[in-house]
Amino acid sequence: MTLARFLRIARQRFTAIVRRGAVERDIDRELAWHLEQSILEKIADGASEEDARREAHREFGVLALVTERSRDARGVTTINGFVDDVRYALRLLRRTPAFTAIAGLALAAGIGTTAAAAAVVSFVLARPLPFPDGDRLITIRTDAVEPALFARAASVHQYRAWQARSASLAAVGASRGGSHVIAAEPGAPPLRVQGQAFTPSLFALLGVRPEAGRLFEEDDHPFGPRALVVVISHRLWQRRYGGAPGTIGRRIRVDSVAREIVGILPADFHLQADNIDVWIPLILAPAGEHGPAQDTPQLRVTARLRPGATLAAARADLEAIAADLHPERAAPRLDISPLRRTLYGWTRPRLATLGAMSTLLLALSCANVAALLLARGTLRRRELAMRAALGASRRRIVRQLLTESLVLGLAAAVPAVLVTAFGLPAVSAALGPPPGLFRLTVVPFDVAVLATVAALCVLSSIAFGVVPAIAGSRVHPIDALHGGTARSASGRSWRGGLVALQIALADVLLVAGALLTASYVNVSGRELNFEPRGLLTFSYAVRADEFIRPMPQRQGSSVFEVSPDAARTFETLSDRLKQLPGSRGVAGISFPPVNSLVLPMVTVQPLDATRDSLGAPTAAAYFIVTPEVFATLQTPILHGREFDARDGRDAPWTIVVNEAMARLCWPGGNPVGRRVRLDLGDGERPREIIGVVATMPARLDEPAAQPAVYTSYLQQPRYYRGPAVGMFAGMTFLMRPKGDADVLLAAARRAAAEVSPERPIDEVGAVQSHLYARLAERRNYVTAVDTFALLAALLAIVGLHGVATHVVVGRANEFAVRRALGARRREILALVALPSLWLVAAGLVMGAAIALPAARLLAPQLWGVAPTDIPTYVGASATLLGAAAIGCAAPMRRALRCDPTARLRAE
């Protein structure tokens, strides 16, 4: 068949469907014309008009019959048959509102949640990135783990080499982010905003167009005036300048440097973080220049692949270039990932879980509706047999039943769209991005989502409709004569299987829900060993380049010189805060005690080898603190004391270890008084352990108690080896208010402004809300998962109830006769309960068999509960058994009510 012919035929068929009336009129007109021609011919032959007309009609035949056959040939009648089926199906749905409601809601739950999960999945995997040709953008990360703030960053050297020599990159750009930038204008209070430094090439390769003004240009030379420019976010423009058109060209001070605002970025621009308000040019040393700063990993590199270049080729290319830079060192390994994965990769575990669960829920609801339809099919046996007796072919009956399923599926689309509309934000919220990445609150509810709902409706109509249609079409015309409800054996076994399947799926979802809920409860109820309630926090950041100078690398790791002024800055503020009248306690710590993004690690070497000491170096998280930090946190001190005024600059150096550290290095003993050495850098001295404190979890969702050590900020070496240096970019202050928290925070703000007007405090809030911000996403996730599990259990029980009821209705006569013959109530109840019990038991066994491997996949998301946790499995089974008992109660009562005389009369 040629394509042209195929298209022509398709058009004709389509016309027959869509323009049925027009096609019918066309046929009528043509036949009428033919008839007229016959008449005219006969008149021309000499017949009278009346005779001619009569004769022509006689020759033509019965007009209606001819018309009907003609329509048949044009494919119009098939459509009419379909329309009739749809009408009939709608009437049927209206006549059985309870069935329609249950089936519709079951489907809506499955379809709606699946469509919501699918929409988020397609957003993450397929929606074009907000950059032109975004799928050729990649991020390049190295295996460098230091300095901590720039983990996995690249050095200027590497960047320059890739820029000059790479054959696989069309363009490459770099950014340096995460640092705090202070934008202040004379007369206005300083404003702490997040900033990023971008190379001009980065904006260009991303394809960003400014909303107003310009972006950076390559000739913004480091020493020229054109380097002193800044691009601001749409948000900052609105907030600070009221969106005034004259903003371009204004000068603002950024980090004490006056810069001209040259451009405003569009509101929807964000690369990774969505809280950036100012961008300054990232000016790198010229290619020929070599110094320690050029060798320090500090850049995030984003690039655009040349057309045709693969990730693997780019990786080989860039690794070879990087290895060539320092042949004496181990070749660096690079992690080249598409920008899409960098942006959305974190959604994977939770999204996969939610997608799988919603798909199981959809399968369950299809099984549920299929079982309901099978049950209804047996009640409709007489009607279908009558149709068969009147000449309907088996195909015709299957078509009718499938049409009914389709109508039911499409009717469910309306509530399904509602479920999707509510499910979409719930699924997005449940994903919870890691800090620093933007949220997925932007997944839109659009035509594509509606199309997904429609497609799922049609697909599930087929899924749940096929078995009932085939079972229903197995009727013999003779059944039309049989009274009552003759039943088909195949339908019954199918129904039982479908109920067991529902129980199994519900069991899987319940187990998954219970495991994740237990993890959430374990995490949120975890012993923190400090009192977050009422504890206020803010961060106080300084510019790293004010106090930190990179030094030549030593033994392959970066070395930094830290100015003593850093400690003095914190000391001044700390002293001011202590004098505030509204405070019961103030302390500073280099990183928040819980949920820090990165924790610098240090190697602790015990110095006094004794019988019970391991004497081996141990890695521990490293915190720099002010005196009285544990009193402020209310962390229990197990041995010794904490830092106080005794631990000054000139006093012997001291250290506090946590319990996990003490247990690891000095098992069974009290380490107070022992001495250790840290591998911080030149100028570090041996430290004496003055106390042991209870272990605070470094991360809320990290199960193991991590060893940690604490030192005073006044007793620090002048030179740091890479890993630990990031802490001098800022300090987190903790305060316990006496009275009103807001009054105290306002006073703290004023104190900070007095110390330095250009360094306002930031990230102000209650520690508890910081904790809960992280927990909230976990809670959203668990809520979504539990909703799926409960819906599944509910649907399974409704399904069981339906089938049990059906058994009772079908066997009512038998029960009545048994009762009349003296069967006891218990025996009748057993007749109803036993088959259901078997189904539930089979379902539970099947469910456990699926849940065990499924839970293993879930293991990385679990906390404090094993994927094989027996009580969870027993609990899920018990829940379903109990619910099944409730589901069977009504049918059992009904079975007992089968009254022999009433049944006889009904016959």
Binding site: M1, T2, R5, F6, R8, I9, Q12, R13, D26, I27, R29, E30, L31, W33, H34, Q37, S38, E59, F60, G61, V62, L65, V66, R69, S70, D72, A73, R74, G75
Partner: protein, 109 residues
């Protein structure tokens, strides 16, 4: 893909295609011409003609178009497509094979 058809129906399709091979024609004209060319031996009833025409149209072998007739009235005119021409040749070949086979059988039986 010709649908399996009985001899009569297949024959009618062949007659219609053959008639249209001489030029476009409306339904009434087709039935007239079949009648004339067969010396009034074959007469096609409207009840068979139009379903056959629509079937052939659905198969893509003929196309229809409303056109002004000589008397200034519009009539639906059918004409053969390229696929239709090929189909005609196939059907002619089939017909010749069949008729010669039937002829042989009648002669020898």
């Amino acid at each position: 893909m010709p649908k399996p058809s009985d001899l009569l129906q297949g024959t009618l399709d062949l007659l219609i295609l053959k008639t249209l091979a001489r030029g476009p024609l409306h339904g009434w004209g087709i039935s007239k011409r079949i009648q004339q060319l067969s010396d009034d031996e074959l007469s096609v009833g409207q009840g068979s003609l139009y379903p056959a025409l629509y079937r052939l149209e659905n198969q893509g072998w003929i196309v229809a178009q409303w056109k002004e007739s000589e008397q200034g009235r519009s009539a639906k005119v059918y004409s053969l497509t390229r696929d239709g021409r090929q189909q005609l040749e196939r059907e002619l070949a089939t017909w010749k094979r069949l008729s010669s086979a039937v002829g042989l059988l009648l002669k020898r039986a």
